[in-house]
Symmetry: C2
């Protein structure tokens, strides 16, 4: 999985800091996650082909996660897009985007599908043969979902040596990859575990922004390869985190620790702080493997 | 009058080019004219105090003139604004902005006044003791207004020498500035033209974007100190200008010439062209005093 951070700062776009947006590349998909104002320029800056984006996931309808979407939808049209586009987000997102397109008399030439979310429980909102995406219910001032991107378990890997030793015909290879044993001509059964290796462990990425401290998400994101968790505040402003339904770096780290994730990526920093290194320092008191998101930063896991 | 160009390129925001927005400073007002995506970042970049903006004029509801407005309105709230804000734009602008604020549960703390425009004739939409703003009816794919910003004629200037010569008491000075004659104690009438000088010629700025070629605006903008007129295309793409209801640089220059304006500022360039200098060259074949708008450029007139 490859994660390109386009923006990861809270509240208002500034000269040097962009509101939330990121692109996750997984199994040939380019999933756009949130779309603050200016995201389309960030996409250009990081040379991400607009045509590769077919699914956009919006966590909630605050401006810093969403006000770049009307412009992106319009730009897709101006660039002559014809592929369909799927937008997943809270109820109301369809009304907002369609009203803006209507007022500009700028209907898209391509098919635009809105998948409006209202469920109070996690739900699978995208699935193909390689990936699922499910919502993570978060706690914010408005209806908000995180998203859990999960690879499906792949095929088992052929043990070439073992296959040759037993002189097994090619015709059986797909069955072996699918986990089946092989019965030889003389009736001997060769077990699948002898003929193949376990597939790579499927990876997963949990995106949790914006949210107050919400430990009941731990079960769902347990063992995630990477967790992006918002940390708007440091511990000294924990009272503001409660008041505004955001998290501190330490709270994000507590979630990471309890869920035993591979890596914690912090982001959604309030711009009140001089240095984002402080977020890492505080989080590492609780959880060791902490990375700091920053605009333009790229992660591979 | 001082004009700060924040963005002046057509269609989609790009890494190096911003969609339309500009700030006109006149008689202590900072009028924001159009507000494409990213305008709030451009305002910060050019160090324009957000608190000085109290009136925003939106020409039409295409994204490249308007999609920065929801974010700016939200940012004003986050910055703790309490002064009222007036927004002038086509009917529908209120519904759009209020829907977005409602979905984010982010009502402004300050008073937000919408002045929705529907008239098919030019109308005065703002007036105080020093300035008027009237609409210029343009011809585009959706309902679009330009704006004519006009200083009012100021007071006459006292001719100090003449006043002293006639030993005229201070009490009469305001009357003289207002254009009145003075009757001396002996009954002599001293004419105002002897006691005062003409005030400076009031300046005016005409903003015309977006529009197809529309010569019937010439009477209204006659003699304007400066005219900003869109020139999306060069003459080689005149057929596209007709089709999309935009103008060529030569058409903009024809308007400038017929209206006998002091200066023509070109802008709203299609990003298809390698150099914007070509726009100036073509326009100068028709009208001599042509300037090119560019992002970040500043004009004083």
């Amino acid at each position: 999985m490859k994660l390109q951070i386009l923006g990861c700062y809270a509240a208002t776009p500034r000269t040097m800091t962009n509101p939330t947006s990121q692109v996750l590349e997984v199994k040939n998909h380019m999933f756009l996650i949130d779309c603050g104002e200016g995201s389309q320029v960030q996409l250009r800056k990081h040379k991400i082909k607009f045509s590769r984006i077919n699914h956009i996931f919006i966590s909630h309808l605050h401006g810093d996660h969403f006000f770049g979407l009307p412009g992106l939808v319009s730009t897709f049209r101006l660039l002559g897009r014809d592929k369909e586009l799927h937008i997943y987000g809270p109820k109301g997102i369809k009304e907002a985007i369609t009203l803006l397109l209507k007022l500009g008399d700028s209907w898209t030439n391509y098919q635009l599908y809105f998948h409006e979310l209202t469920s109070k429980e996690p739900e699978v909102i995208f699935e193909d043969d390689k990936v699922t995406v499910e919502t993570i219910r978060l706690s914010h001032r408005v209806y908000t979902n995180g998203f859990l991107f999960k690879e499906k378990a792949g095929e088992r890997k052929l043990n070439v040596e073992a296959v040759e030793k037993h002189k097994i015909d090619k015709a059986y290879f797909q069955n072996i990859k699918n986990g089946r044993d092989v019965v030889l001509d003389d009736g001997t059964i060769v077990s699948n575990t002898e003929l193949s290796f376990d597939p790579p462990v499927p990876k997963s990425y949990a995106y949790c922004s914006d949210t107050g401290y919400k430990p009941d998400i731990v079960d769902q994101i347990k063992g995630a390869t990477a967790l992006y968790h918002e940390s708007t505040f440091l511990e000294s402003e924990a009272h503001l985190a409660v008041k505004t339904k955001h998290s501190t770096a330490m709270q994000a780290a507590s979630i990471a620790k309890a869920a035993n994730v591979g890596m914690l990526i912090l982001g959604h920093y309030s711009t009140r702080y001089k240095s984002i290194e402080l977020f890492k320092e505080e989080a590492m008191e609780i959880f060791p493997n902490v990375e700091l998101a920053d605009d333009g930063k790229f992660f591979e896991f």
